[in-house]
Symmetry: C2
Subunit: 177 residues, 2 copies
Amino acid sequence: MAHLTAGVEYGIHCLLWLALERDTSLSSRDLADLQGVSPSFVAKLFPKLEKAGIVVASNGLRGGYRLARSAARITLLDVVDAIEGPKPLFDCQEIRGRCAVFDGALPRWATNGVCAIHAAMLRAEQAMRESLAATTLADIADTVGRKAPASFSQAVTAWVGGRTDARSARRGTRGRG
Amino acid sequence: MAHLTAGVEYGIHCLLWLALERDTSLSSRDLADLQGVSPSFVAKLFPKLEKAGIVVASNGLRGGYRLARSAARITLLDVVDAIEGPKPLFDCQEIRGRCAVFDGALPRWATNGVCAIHAAMLRAEQAMRESLAATTLADIADTVGRKAPASFSQAVTAWVGGRTDARSARRGTRGRG
DNA sequence: GAAACACAGACTAGATCGCTCCGCGTTTCA
DNA sequence: TGAAACGCGGAGCGATCTAGTCTGTGTTTC
Ligand code: FES
Ligand code: FES
């Protein structure tokens, strides 16, 4: 994939569901099934978000995740950093230090400070990060909310409720389904 | 490596040498040896820069590359696009279309337009691209030029000249060295 | 005490990256 | 005239990364 991996897309989409259902803990399996993606993969994602303080986890049956703070105070940069970890846009290999003209006697000025090319790349990365930091989960939820009809939110709550019911039913009809 | 690969670092550094020696054609081997990097790898880089119209190539003995236009009119974005090709920062997989709540009957509004998350990523990518487009090869050459002593430019020209001489000498003493 | 949860770690298939090697056509120059 | 130095394309290779699976361990609910 590209620089921002599939984990970021999965993670942010999951967090949007959590923002929609702030009163309920959703398990990683709920979130995966809800979106039709790999449960194992989503399960590997959330410990990172929890360590970054974006979500809080609760253990045991009926456990799961919920947002650690308001969606308006979670930026896309928070999520990207949590999932991707420290991952530079550009990885300078200090080419300049191998110049044949110097022939072994590397002058101080040649490796002093950061290479001008590297500096330009760092500026580009910073521009990207500032753009990501300027968008919050709430912004995105608003955009989606304006597109979705009013009935959608209810349908989601019903789906989540249906999950809990299905679990209870499974306990009642154990071995038959 | 990261999103911007080693080819970009090699490529831009090479182009800086070409900007310094605008009157001479430098071969890909010259440029590689000058910087102590792999000649084969640099040789694979330059056809891309030539197709993008950043350098012009000349064939045969004494051939090589030179800048197609002034360094002030070559941006870092030009070089990155030439070497990396079309490579999105974020590769949306249209997760939203798989939502289990819809259960097969995907409503129009759900996939209408670009996903809000994807849109935010495109803005971040655009911010990065604008930053890269704002820096030219000449800008970087100036920065380097201010650091390097006056003698450096002469040393480079001498090194390049020495290369041509070495080739002539090799022809004269064929088989002995 | 079983089921549903979180979480850590080993593992795999496939893609990509950095790099090499080879063959072909072109140009120069002894 | 032919060898050497060029550009250029394609095949291939080892290392690394990605997306995803499969354990296993500990915790909470019912
Ligand atoms: S040495 Fe890495 S960008 Fe110049
Ligand atoms: S569907 Fe790809 S980012 Fe939303």
